[in-house]
Symmetry: C2
Subunit: 135 residues, 2 copies
DNA sequence: CTGTGTGCAAACACTTTGCAGGTGT
DNA sequence: ACACCTGCAAAGTGTTTGCACACAG
Protein backbone atom coordinates (compact mmCIF):
# COMPACT_ATOMS: atom_id res chain seq x y z
CA UNK A 1 0.00 0.00 0.00
CA UNK A 2 1.62 3.25 -1.08
CA UNK A 3 0.68 6.88 -0.56
CA UNK A 4 -1.34 7.24 -3.76
CA UNK A 5 -3.41 4.18 -3.06
CA UNK A 6 -4.13 5.32 0.47
CA UNK A 7 -5.33 8.71 -0.70
CA UNK A 8 -7.44 7.26 -3.47
CA UNK A 9 -9.05 4.85 -1.08
CA UNK A 10 -10.17 7.79 1.05
CA UNK A 11 -11.39 9.83 -1.93
CA UNK A 12 -8.76 12.48 -1.33
CA UNK A 13 -6.92 14.34 -4.02
CA UNK A 14 -3.49 13.02 -4.76
CA UNK A 15 -1.47 16.13 -4.06
CA UNK A 16 2.23 16.59 -3.51
CA UNK A 17 2.20 17.49 0.13
CA UNK A 18 -0.09 14.67 1.17
CA UNK A 19 1.88 12.10 -0.78
CA UNK A 20 5.10 13.36 0.75
CA UNK A 21 3.79 13.17 4.33
CA UNK A 22 2.43 9.66 3.91
CA UNK A 23 5.61 8.59 2.16
CA UNK A 24 7.81 9.80 5.00
CA UNK A 25 5.63 8.09 7.58
CA UNK A 26 5.69 4.86 5.58
CA UNK A 27 9.48 5.02 5.41
CA UNK A 28 10.03 5.92 9.04
CA UNK A 29 7.66 3.34 10.50
CA UNK A 30 7.37 5.39 13.65
CA UNK A 31 5.65 8.62 14.66
CA UNK A 32 7.24 11.81 13.33
CA UNK A 33 6.83 15.47 14.15
CA UNK A 34 6.10 18.08 11.54
CA UNK A 35 9.77 19.09 11.48
CA UNK A 36 10.94 15.48 11.31
CA UNK A 37 8.69 14.85 8.34
CA UNK A 38 10.03 17.91 6.62
CA UNK A 39 13.64 17.10 7.38
CA UNK A 40 14.03 15.28 4.08
CA UNK A 41 12.86 18.22 2.00
CA UNK A 42 12.77 21.29 4.24
CA UNK A 43 11.65 23.81 1.65
CA UNK A 44 9.40 21.80 -0.59
CA UNK A 45 6.17 22.75 1.12
CA UNK A 46 5.44 25.57 3.49
CA UNK A 47 4.36 24.99 7.05
CA UNK A 48 0.81 26.12 6.52
CA UNK A 49 0.27 23.58 3.79
CA UNK A 50 1.80 20.95 6.03
CA UNK A 51 -0.53 21.72 8.88
CA UNK A 52 -3.55 21.67 6.64
CA UNK A 53 -2.51 18.40 5.04
CA UNK A 54 -1.87 16.83 8.43
CA UNK A 55 -5.30 17.97 9.57
CA UNK A 56 -6.96 16.49 6.51
CA UNK A 57 -5.14 13.20 6.93
CA UNK A 58 -6.08 13.09 10.58
CA UNK A 59 -9.74 13.85 9.88
CA UNK A 60 -9.78 10.98 7.41
CA UNK A 61 -8.23 8.60 9.92
CA UNK A 62 -5.15 8.06 7.81
CA UNK A 63 -2.88 9.32 10.59
CA UNK A 64 -3.29 10.06 14.30
CA UNK A 65 -1.69 12.54 16.66
CA UNK A 66 0.55 11.52 19.54
CA UNK A 67 1.08 14.17 22.21
CA UNK A 68 4.19 13.68 24.32
CA UNK A 69 4.82 14.83 27.87
CA UNK A 70 6.68 17.90 26.75
CA UNK A 71 3.63 18.85 24.63
CA UNK A 72 5.31 18.12 21.34
CA UNK A 73 3.08 16.50 18.76
CA UNK A 74 3.99 13.62 16.51
CA UNK A 75 1.98 11.92 13.80
CA UNK A 76 1.74 8.24 13.03
CA UNK A 77 0.05 6.24 10.31
CA UNK A 78 -2.98 4.21 11.22
CA UNK A 79 -1.59 0.91 10.02
CA UNK A 80 -4.92 -0.76 10.53
CA UNK A 81 -8.11 0.06 12.28
CA UNK A 82 -7.61 -0.68 15.93
CA UNK A 83 -10.36 -0.76 18.51
CA UNK A 84 -10.25 2.20 20.84
CA UNK A 85 -8.05 1.88 23.85
CA UNK A 86 -5.95 -0.94 22.47
CA UNK A 87 -3.10 1.22 21.35
CA UNK A 88 -0.05 2.40 23.28
CA UNK A 89 2.85 4.66 22.34
CA UNK A 90 6.43 4.18 23.36
CA UNK A 91 8.68 7.24 23.55
CA UNK A 92 12.40 6.52 23.67
CA UNK A 93 14.11 9.15 25.80
CA UNK A 94 17.46 8.54 24.14
CA UNK A 95 16.68 8.88 20.45
CA UNK A 96 13.27 10.57 20.83
CA UNK A 97 11.62 8.02 18.56
CA UNK A 98 7.99 7.22 19.13
CA UNK A 99 6.65 3.83 18.15
CA UNK A 100 3.09 2.55 18.16
CA UNK A 101 2.46 -0.68 19.98
CA UNK A 102 -0.49 -2.91 19.63
CA UNK A 103 -1.25 -3.93 23.14
CA UNK A 104 -4.04 -6.41 22.93
CA UNK A 105 -3.00 -7.53 26.37
CA UNK A 106 -3.54 -4.12 27.89
CA UNK A 107 -5.51 -4.70 31.03
CA UNK A 108 -8.22 -2.24 31.97
CA UNK A 109 -7.53 0.31 34.66
CA UNK A 110 -9.56 0.03 37.81
CA UNK A 111 -12.05 2.85 37.23
CA UNK A 112 -13.74 4.41 40.25
CA UNK A 113 -17.49 4.07 40.17
CA UNK A 114 -19.47 6.74 38.37
CA UNK A 115 -16.92 7.42 35.64
CA UNK A 116 -17.67 6.18 32.14
CA UNK A 117 -14.61 5.80 29.98
CA UNK A 118 -14.73 6.29 26.22
CA UNK A 119 -11.06 6.00 25.41
CA UNK A 120 -7.80 5.23 27.07
CA UNK A 121 -4.36 6.26 25.93
CA UNK A 122 -1.12 4.90 27.24
CA UNK A 123 2.21 6.63 26.86
CA UNK A 124 5.29 4.69 27.84
CA UNK A 125 8.72 6.22 28.25
CA UNK A 126 12.02 4.46 28.40
CA UNK A 127 14.72 3.10 26.13
CA UNK A 128 14.15 1.37 22.84
CA UNK A 129 16.00 -1.77 21.75
CA UNK A 130 18.30 0.12 19.39
CA UNK A 131 19.48 2.58 22.04
CA UNK A 132 19.86 -0.14 24.66
CA UNK A 133 22.26 -2.02 22.43
CA UNK A 134 24.39 1.07 21.90
CA UNK A 135 24.81 1.90 25.49
CA UNK B 1 -1.58 21.23 54.87
CA UNK B 2 -1.92 24.72 53.39
CA UNK B 3 0.07 26.56 50.75
CA UNK B 4 2.50 28.21 53.18
CA UNK B 5 3.36 24.94 54.86
CA UNK B 6 3.93 23.22 51.56
CA UNK B 7 6.30 25.93 50.37
CA UNK B 8 8.17 26.02 53.66
CA UNK B 9 8.59 22.27 53.59
CA UNK B 10 10.31 22.57 50.22
CA UNK B 11 12.51 25.50 51.29
CA UNK B 12 10.83 27.82 48.82
CA UNK B 13 10.06 31.44 49.45
CA UNK B 14 6.51 32.12 50.44
CA UNK B 15 5.52 34.50 47.68
CA UNK B 16 2.12 35.68 46.54
CA UNK B 17 1.99 33.95 43.20
CA UNK B 18 3.08 30.57 44.51
CA UNK B 19 0.67 30.69 47.42
CA UNK B 20 -2.13 31.64 45.07
CA UNK B 21 -1.46 28.79 42.66
CA UNK B 22 -1.25 26.18 45.39
CA UNK B 23 -4.35 27.62 47.03
CA UNK B 24 -6.39 27.34 43.87
CA UNK B 25 -5.25 23.79 43.27
CA UNK B 26 -6.07 22.86 46.86
CA UNK B 27 -9.56 24.33 46.45
CA UNK B 28 -10.24 22.80 43.05
CA UNK B 29 -9.10 19.28 43.89
CA UNK B 30 -8.57 18.58 40.21
CA UNK B 31 -6.03 19.59 37.58
CA UNK B 32 -6.32 23.18 36.34
CA UNK B 33 -4.86 25.03 33.39
CA UNK B 34 -2.99 28.28 33.76
CA UNK B 35 -6.08 30.23 32.75
CA UNK B 36 -8.32 28.23 35.08
CA UNK B 37 -6.03 28.95 37.98
CA UNK B 38 -6.05 32.64 37.15
CA UNK B 39 -9.82 32.78 36.70
CA UNK B 40 -10.35 33.79 40.31
CA UNK B 41 -8.04 36.78 40.12
CA UNK B 42 -7.25 37.41 36.47
CA UNK B 43 -5.06 40.46 36.93
CA UNK B 44 -3.29 39.77 40.17
CA UNK B 45 -0.20 38.25 38.61
CA UNK B 46 1.07 38.41 35.09
CA UNK B 47 1.44 35.38 32.89
CA UNK B 48 5.21 35.34 32.98
CA UNK B 49 5.25 35.17 36.74
CA UNK B 50 2.67 32.41 36.56
CA UNK B 51 4.74 30.35 34.20
CA UNK B 52 7.84 30.77 36.29
CA UNK B 53 6.02 29.87 39.45
CA UNK B 54 4.47 26.81 37.85
CA UNK B 55 7.91 25.75 36.65
CA UNK B 56 9.39 26.13 40.11
CA UNK B 57 6.56 24.19 41.72
CA UNK B 58 6.94 21.46 39.14
CA UNK B 59 10.69 21.24 39.62
CA UNK B 60 10.13 20.82 43.33
CA UNK B 61 7.58 18.07 42.79
CA UNK B 62 4.79 20.07 44.38
CA UNK B 63 2.72 19.90 41.19
CA UNK B 64 2.86 17.88 37.99
CA UNK B 65 1.85 18.58 34.40
CA UNK B 66 -0.95 16.76 32.63
CA UNK B 67 -0.92 17.07 28.84
CA UNK B 68 -4.27 16.40 27.18
CA UNK B 69 -4.92 15.14 23.68
CA UNK B 70 -5.53 18.61 22.33
CA UNK B 71 -2.08 19.59 23.68
CA UNK B 72 -3.47 21.77 26.45
CA UNK B 73 -1.58 21.55 29.70
CA UNK B 74 -3.09 21.31 33.16
CA UNK B 75 -1.41 21.23 36.53
CA UNK B 76 -2.28 19.10 39.54
CA UNK B 77 -0.99 18.93 43.06
CA UNK B 78 1.06 15.93 44.05
CA UNK B 79 -1.17 14.88 46.91
CA UNK B 80 1.31 12.30 48.02
CA UNK B 81 4.33 10.64 46.59
CA UNK B 82 3.14 7.95 44.24
CA UNK B 83 5.35 5.32 42.70
CA UNK B 84 5.94 5.90 39.03
CA UNK B 85 3.38 4.48 36.70
CA UNK B 86 0.65 4.16 39.29
CA UNK B 87 -1.15 7.31 38.37
CA UNK B 88 -3.84 7.89 35.76
CA UNK B 89 -5.70 11.02 34.65
CA UNK B 90 -9.34 11.22 33.75
CA UNK B 91 -10.45 13.93 31.35
CA UNK B 92 -14.20 14.60 31.29
CA UNK B 93 -15.20 15.62 27.76
CA UNK B 94 -18.33 17.38 29.00
CA UNK B 95 -17.00 19.72 31.66
CA UNK B 96 -13.31 19.50 30.72
CA UNK B 97 -12.34 18.66 34.28
CA UNK B 98 -9.25 16.54 34.80
CA UNK B 99 -8.98 14.39 37.90
CA UNK B 100 -6.08 12.34 39.15
CA UNK B 101 -6.77 8.72 39.92
CA UNK B 102 -4.71 6.42 41.97
CA UNK B 103 -4.76 3.20 40.09
CA UNK B 104 -2.95 0.70 42.18
CA UNK B 105 -4.77 -1.93 40.19
CA UNK B 106 -3.30 -0.75 36.92
CA UNK B 107 -2.07 -3.84 35.17
CA UNK B 108 1.16 -3.65 33.22
CA UNK B 109 1.03 -3.39 29.48
CA UNK B 110 2.44 -6.26 27.51
CA UNK B 111 5.76 -4.76 26.45
CA UNK B 112 7.48 -6.16 23.39
CA UNK B 113 10.90 -7.58 24.12
CA UNK B 114 13.83 -5.22 24.02
CA UNK B 115 12.05 -2.16 25.32
CA UNK B 116 12.77 -1.01 28.84
CA UNK B 117 10.05 1.13 30.34
CA UNK B 118 10.79 3.84 32.89
CA UNK B 119 7.36 5.36 33.23
CA UNK B 120 3.84 4.86 32.05
CA UNK B 121 1.13 7.45 31.82
CA UNK B 122 -2.52 6.73 31.29
CA UNK B 123 -5.02 9.26 30.06
CA UNK B 124 -8.69 8.30 30.19
CA UNK B 125 -11.42 10.25 28.46
CA UNK B 126 -15.11 10.01 29.06
CA UNK B 127 -17.80 11.42 31.31
CA UNK B 128 -17.42 12.16 35.00
CA UNK B 129 -20.05 11.29 37.62
CA UNK B 130 -21.29 14.86 37.89
CA UNK B 131 -21.92 15.26 34.17
CA UNK B 132 -23.50 11.83 33.89
CA UNK B 133 -26.09 12.74 36.50
CA UNK B 134 -27.01 15.89 34.60
CA UNK B 135 -27.69 13.88 31.47
C1' DC C 1 21.27 43.05 53.33
C1' DT C 2 21.25 39.63 49.73
C1' DG C 3 19.32 36.51 46.70
C1' DT C 4 15.47 35.56 44.32
C1' DG C 5 10.70 36.64 42.81
C1' DT C 6 8.10 39.86 40.14
C1' DG C 7 6.48 42.83 36.29
C1' DC C 8 7.12 44.66 31.87
C1' DA C 9 8.69 44.51 27.07
C1' DA C 10 9.98 41.85 23.64
C1' DA C 11 11.16 37.74 21.31
C1' DC C 12 10.08 33.10 19.96
C1' DA C 13 7.66 28.86 18.45
C1' DC C 14 3.55 26.77 16.96
C1' DT C 15 -0.76 26.97 14.74
C1' DT C 16 -4.75 29.16 12.43
C1' DT C 17 -7.18 32.30 9.13
C1' DG C 18 -8.03 34.99 4.75
C1' DC C 19 -7.29 35.50 0.25
C1' DA C 20 -5.44 35.04 -4.54
C1' DG C 21 -3.80 31.93 -7.68
C1' DG C 22 -2.61 27.10 -9.17
C1' DT C 23 -3.70 22.06 -9.65
C1' DG C 24 -6.01 17.45 -9.61
C1' DT C 25 -9.94 15.05 -11.30
C1' DA D 1 -14.56 23.56 -15.56
C1' DC D 2 -14.84 23.35 -10.92
C1' DA D 3 -13.69 22.33 -6.52
C1' DC D 4 -10.17 22.22 -3.66
C1' DC D 5 -5.20 22.51 -2.62
C1' DT D 6 -1.30 25.58 -2.14
C1' DG D 7 1.54 29.62 -0.89
C1' DC D 8 2.03 33.95 1.19
C1' DA D 9 1.03 37.41 4.67
C1' DA D 10 -0.65 38.21 8.87
C1' DA D 11 -2.69 37.39 13.16
C1' DG D 12 -3.48 34.51 17.42
C1' DT D 13 -1.89 31.74 21.24
C1' DG D 14 1.27 29.77 24.46
C1' DT D 15 5.76 30.15 26.37
C1' DT D 16 10.50 31.93 27.19
C1' DT D 17 14.21 35.49 27.95
C1' DG D 18 16.42 39.89 29.61
C1' DC D 19 16.46 43.39 32.65
C1' DA D 20 15.31 46.61 36.47
C1' DC D 21 12.95 46.83 40.68
C1' DA D 22 10.67 44.84 44.86
C1' DC D 23 10.29 41.75 48.44
C1' DA D 24 11.05 37.50 51.61
C1' DG D 25 14.19 35.52 54.62
Amino acid sequence: MDAEQILKRHNLKNTGCRKFIIGELLDGDCALSESEIKKALPDLFDRVTFYRSLKTLEENSIIHRVVLHDSTVKYALNREVLPKGEHAHFHCMECDAVTCMETGALAPVAIPQGFSVDSMDVLLEGTCPGCKRQG
